[in-house]
């Protein structure tokens, strides 16, 4: 079970004040939350790095959290920012790992839906979202994505570039 919004907020507020015990619990809970958040939205080979990079960002930018506001939308904004950054870096990974099955967390479904990566991908044109999913998430080559979608190779590249640019301008969009 993953912590609730209220628990996250309380732990973070204490962590900002320097409470190491609370911070350790917070990071452990955030790690679990982020693994679910990124599941199926990044190549499995890249998920460890992405979760770690996001936790490091959380650490470096912890003063940017306002204790008067909900925690998860803040964490999700940082998560989305690092995710897009990570998609830009990924070219092709061999698929030697299977996706882990992740059960939905019943506690925060409403919040999770609002801040999800799926929702962000739904906001860009379907052709751009499709090639980003195929090449950057599933790990297909440009050639394979071109054959699968019927888009020319150069169009696949252009759509990936435009899609990522658009995604990065919509990190805070619900």
């Amino acid at each position: 079970m993953i912590a609730s919004e209220e628990t996250f907020r309380r732990l973070m507020t204490k962590a900002q004040a320097g409470d190491k015990l609370c911070y350790s619990s917070l990071l452990t809970e955030c790690e679990k939350w982020l693994r679910r958040y990124y599941a199926h939205k990044i190549n499995p080979a890249a998920i460890d790095d992405l979760v770690q990079e996001t936790l490091i960002s959380l650490h470096r930018k912890r003063a940017s959290y306002d204790p008067a506001r909900p925690f998860l939308p803040w964490l999700a904004a940082i998560g989305r920012y690092r995710w897009i950054d990570s998609l830009r870096k990924i070219y092709r990974h061999e698929h030697d790992q299977l996706y882990e099955e992740m059960a939905a967390d019943p506690q925060d479904e409403t919040v999770a839906a609002k801040v999800s990566l799926e929702r962000l991908l739904d906001r860009i044109p379907p052709k751009q979202a499709e090639v980003i999913s195929l090449v950057k998430i599933e790990g297909l080559s440009i050639l394979e994505a071109s054959a699968k979608t019927g888009q020319s190779e150069s169009l696949v590249k252009v759509n990936i570039h435009r899609g990522l640019k658009k995604l990065s301008s919509m990190v805070e969009t619900e």
Binding site: A17, S57, H59, S64, P70, A77, S168, V171, E172, E174
Partner: protein
């Protein structure tokens, strides 16, 4: 496990932090803008009608539009230091629409009548307006960039545009204390150019300064 080791390292590294407060960032921007305005007034001088206590209505219209644009977009910039899915700061769009009435009016009037004041064609005045506005804006932009670097802006390009536009508008408002021209053609051309150039400079330079 790798993550556990990293979490332990981060916990070891924890020091107390004071959460950023938007009002402090906004107050910093206002303070720098006020200093810049005083410097412009001291170094370049205050326009005559203002000194005599009888300012032309255009002084208030121009200054008001620039201040509204500068303040609303500055607030958006400062708020971007605290990211969250669901954030939305769009008040500046209306202020921009209002400010655009100046170049739009100038363009329409230019089509109907010959500009009444040929000063708009004298590059010396226009370049002075551009230079002072942009220099004044630079100080304000520096304060905003420093604030953003403390925070975690997630839309870097938008932040760049907004830093440029807001600092340019506040810088131009400061220059307005000195600028003696009231012509809609002059304001529509040179002031718009000053804010637009600052916005472009912001878009080009700021993202690389605030990336994290």
């Amino acid at each position: 496990m790798m993550s556990d080791m990293m979490i332990n390292r981060l916990v070891e590294d924890l020091t107390p932090v004071k959460p950023l407060k938007n009002r402090n960032g906004f107050a910093l921007t206002l303070a720098v803008a006020a200093v810049v305005a005083v410097l412009v007034a001291l170094l370049a001088g205050v326009r005559g009608d203002l000194l005599m206590g009888m300012p032309h209505p255009m002084f208030f219209l121009r200054g008001g539009a620039l201040l509204l644009l500068g303040l609303t977009s500055s607030y958006a910039v400062i708020a971007m230091s605290q990211p969250a899915v669901g954030n939305s700061f769009k008040g500046w769009i209306w202020a921009l629409a209002a400010a655009l009435l100046f170049p739009a009016t100038a363009a329409v009037m230019a089509m109907m009548t010959r500009p009444d004041d040929m000063a708009i064609l004298v590059a010396r005045y226009g370049v002075e307006c551009l230079t002072v506005s942009m220099l004044a804006g630079l100080g304000i932009a520096a304060a905003q960039v420093l604030w953003l670097r403390r925070g975690a802006p997630v839309a870097l390009e938008r932040a760049g545009w907004l830093v440029g536009m807001s600092s340019g508008a506040l810088g131009a408002a400061a220059y307005g204390l000195h600028c003696p021209f009231n012509s809609i053609f002059y304001i529509g051309l040179w002031y718009s150019l000053a804010v637009a150039l600052c916005a472009i400079a912001g878009r080009l330079l700021v993202p690389r300064l605030i990336r994290w």
